[in-house]
Amino acid sequence: MLNLLAFAFPLIAGILLGYFLRDKKRINLGRITFGTILALIFSLGFSIGSSNELLSAMPKVGLNAAVILALTLLFSVVFLKTVKKMVKMK
């Protein structure tokens, strides 16, 4: 729970700061963002590569994992689309 809130804090701080600096001169954050995304994805890959547990689990459960994942994703999308229509969300 504390961890979840720790992620909300920088986001909210960013939104507030951005909101108050709305009419100030713009700085281009595109490059910083992209570089940081790459660092994040790299470290995500690193945790996967360094997890012997995960690497040894994957081949053992291959087919079952593929079937469950495919259906999980399919139903998530179908449900979301249905509910979106029901509440008329754009």
Binding site: F7, L11, T33, T36, A39, F42, S50, S76
Partner: protein
């Protein structure tokens, strides 16, 4: 852009694997904890900033209003039902397969927790399914976003509040920030309870 992301992922896996299996050059936690958390916090701040500055994004969000709360609800329910159907097709314990799907992509939680409640074999399944969910969300985003800008959010499940959020915002636009974050947040809060509740039904 997606090719750089996939490259970063591949290099990351190779580096992590090498560091683990060909001599520990540095502590794994340097990258998987410190670099990860640092870049994530910086990104959340920067994305929040871009959202706050963007006048259109706030208007769009206001128009959607409380409706965005249905997103995690639909994604969560859909995921668990997908697990149920998957379990029935495969002829395995359906409670376990539902619990696996109720990880919503949070593999570091689903692996150990499902393992504890349903045994090591299902723990491995929970780890793999949820890890692949996160991986697929990132690698297929340039395709899924074309179907509907909400599809990547449905794919991402609980991960849309952290690891997959920057990629989603990049592809779906600034206005997707709050929808994706709040959906990921709600699903992250729900995942441990959902897995435990499904296990209680089973036992």
């Amino acid at each position: 852009m997606i090719k750089y992301i996939v490259l970063a992922l591949v290099f990351g896996v190779a580096a992590g694997y090498s560091n683990n299996n060909f001599g520990n050059f540095f502590a794994n936690s340097l990258v998987s904890d410190y670099l990860f958390n640092f870049s994530l916090i910086l990104l959340l701040f920067v994305m929040g900033f871009s959202f706050g500055v963007d006048k259109e994004a706030t208007v769009k969000l206001k128009r959607a209003g409380l409706k965005i709360l249905v997103v995690p609800f639909a994604v969560g329910l859909g995921s668990i039902l997908g697990g149920l159907v998957g379990g029935l097709i495969l002829g395995i314990n359906v409670f376990a397969s539902m619990a696996v799907s109720a990880g919503f992509g949070w593999y570091t939680l689903a692996g150990p927790l499902v393992g504890q409640l349903f045994g090591a074999e299902f723990g491995a399944l929970g780890l793999t399914v949820n890890f692949l969910r996160e991986l697929l969300t990132i690698t297929t985003i340039s395709l899924t976003v074309r179907i509907d800008k909400y599809v990547p959010i449905a794919f991402g499940g609980a991960t849309t509040m952290d690891t997959t959020l920057p990629v989603i915002v990049r592809y779906c636009g600034s206005e997707a920030l709050i929808t994706a974050f709040s959906s990921g947040f709600a699903l992250s809060l729900t995942a441990p309870f959902a897995i435990t509740a499904i296990a209680t039904l089973f036992h």
